[in-house]
């Protein structure tokens, strides 16, 4: 789906944001790009829809070189949800907001209506169809932004820091939503430093630090490796901390989520 070949990227002001980065994202994959602020995470994903073009190397989306096409064309297959919904909301109603991209992509009126209804329903926003997005709460605005991207049904959805500013319940709902999207075959890429959130999703993880990829593997491999995590200034998830602390008692050291933790510990406590 997306192939990044030995890409480096330098901003016009001279900041080198990516250095010789290569990754390959398969259709239907769930990927989390993690690292400290300024590690190059957002720069990397902005290559996926052509918002940034590599200074050297190449990025292929569906075998098309991003240098040879426009953002508008790439956006059809790679949807991008920005961190702050306020960077995109501008319409008088939620319905218009969601129609905006559909019209840009040349959908006809009937199709627009259908897709909007579908997207509103998907994110539980139907009652706000005619409401101004500016009257909604922060969490609801975030859902409108998400709906406005999912409406055109892109093959890949990229979300930049989706958990920032969200409370516990909103995060939980988001997590279930992402897992549902992914299980329906959508490729999902999230950019985040929220390690507890990622631990409960267990996606493939790419760990970045100062413009380089320092690790690429499954959630279990990466989140249970304190040395690698420290390189990217990420803390070990709480659950993993417990299991690493008890490894001398014969506990496995590759547990990251609450549910498995409960099962393994219960078993030990019962068999005692």
């Amino acid at each position: 789906m997306i192939r990044v070949n030995q890409v480096s990227f330098t901003y016009p002001n001279g900041t080198e944001a990516l250095r010789d980065v290569s990754i390959n994202i398969q259709d239907g994959e769930f990927l989390a790009v993690m690292g400290q602020n300024g590690a190059g995470k957002t720069t990397l994903v902005k290559l996926f829809n052509g918002l940034l073009k590599p200074s050297s190397g190449e990025v292929l989306v569906d075998n098309v070189d991003t240098k040879e096409t426009s953002v508008a064309k790439l956006a059809r297959s790679v949807g991008f949800v920005f961190q702050n919904p306020d960077s995109q909301l501008f319409c008088e109603t939620v319905e218009e907001e969601i129609s905006f991209a559909l019209r840009n992509f040349g959908f006809d009126d009937l199709k627009v209506k259908k897709r909007v209804t579908w997207a509103l329903n998907l994110l539980g926003l139907t009652e706000y169809r005619a409401t101004s997005p500016f009257m909604l709460s922060g969490g609801e605005r975030k859902r409108v932004a998400l709906a406005s991207v999912l409406a055109w049904d892109p093959k890949v959805v990229v979300m930049d820091e989706p958990t920032i500013g969200q409370d516990h319940r909103q995060k939980e709902r988001l997590r279930q939503f992402i897992i549902q999207l992914n299980s329906q075959g959508k490729t999902v890429v999230i950019v985040t430093h929220d390690v507890e959130f990622v631990a409960e999703c267990a996606p493939r993880i790419i760990l970045m630090s100062s413009g380089r990829i320092v690790a690429d593997g499954t959630g279990k491999e990466i989140l249970t490796d304190p040395t690698t995590l420290t390189k990217a200034s990420i803390v070990v998830p709480q659950i993993t901390q417990i299991f690493l602390g008890l490894s001398d008692l014969g506990f496995p050291s590759d547990v990251i989520d609450l549910l498995s933790a409960k099962e393994i510990i219960s078993e030990r406590l019962i068999s005692r």
């Binding site: 602390g245 008692l249 609450l258 406590l269 019962i270």
Partner: protein
């Protein structure tokens, strides 16, 4: 000794129909580290604005009930006088820095108070030192990371030496490392400089371990108020979706089926590891 005391505090924003804070009665003791939490839109931020007089003096609206902060009646005291006693740090670090250099920004409050220059320089140095940003003193705000900007904002409050510091979700835009540094500075202020701290925070997994007192709000009302261990292990907290640390949840789930039991509910991974080790080695 109580440093903040509210009784039946109810506040409605000018054009709103429902109160944002509804009948809140709480007491914060001097020297406490209190964590205020609850789902988005529960009224936490509004309550913070009451503590330093932004409500009712800046926001107007309808404020009822009693509200005393460091012995002053907030309704009768102007914001700039309250600023000497209560400092407020906001969520977005970017929008609370005005000057073009760090040290000038830290001095902003003192300049407003008309403090003589030599004294001001001392206070600024002390504040920069305490928040660990002396090396950044000549930088411009846009040259700093979000975490550094937030520490500048905290330094700006420290310089004014208030008795109470209120921080409204200071780490929500920061990465874990940046958040950790903020918590360290705040903890040092509380432990070494005996400042009373009120921290509004969603991420209890990071903040719970520092707290002496946890207050949970929902829909404008205080629904839980007590020691961290009691509040976080209560059924109510779980139901309204407070971000209870995963170790505490794990403990609860094991305790429910009778596999673990202790009076000291674990709040950090170290605590539960020690607990499990004890049980398994028996």
């Amino acid at each position: 000794m109580a440093i903040i005391r509210t009784k039946g505090l109810t506040y409605t924003y000018p054009v709103a129909t429902k109160p944002a804070v509804d009948g809140v009665s709480i007491t914060i003791e001097k020297g406490e580290f209190a964590v205020l939490t609850g789902p988005s839109g529960c009224g936490k931020t509004t309550l913070c604005r009451c503590f330093n007089g932004l409500i009712p003096h800046f926001y107007r609206g309808d404020l009822r009930g009693q509200l005393q902060v460091t012995g002053l009646d907030v309704k009768e005291t102007p914001i700039h006088e309250l600023a000497l006693h209560v400092g407020l740090v906001f969520q977005n670090p970017e929008n609370q820095l005005f000057a073009l250099s760090v040290e000038k920004d830290v001095a902003f409050g003192l300049e407003n108070l008309g403090m003589p220059r030599n004294e001001m320089q001392k206070q600024v140095d002390y504040a920069l030192e305490t928040s660990g940003i002396s090396h950044l003193r000549l930088k411009a705000p846009h040259e700093l990371s979000g975490g550094q900007q937030q520490r500048v904002a905290i330094a700006g409050i420290i310089a004014m030496q208030p008795e109470v510091m209120v921080l409204d979700e200071p780490t929500s835009f920061l990465d874990p490392l940046g958040a950790e540094k903020i918590f360290k500075v705040v903890r040092a202020l509380n432990q070494e400089h005996h400042m009373t701290v009120i921290l509004v925070e969603h991420r209890l997994d990071l903040a719970a371990r520092y707290a002496d007192h946890v207050i949970v709000m929902d829909r404008g009302k205080v629904i839980l108020d007590g020691e961290p261990k009691d509040v976080l292990s209560s059924e109510k907290a779980r139901l309204i979706g407070v971000g209870i640390p995963k170790v505490t949840l794990l403990y609860q789930q094991l305790a429910e089926v009778g596999l673990l039991k202790t009076n000291e509910v674990p709040l950090s991974s170290e605590e539960i590891t020690a607990l499990l080790r004890g049980v398994l080695n028996d």
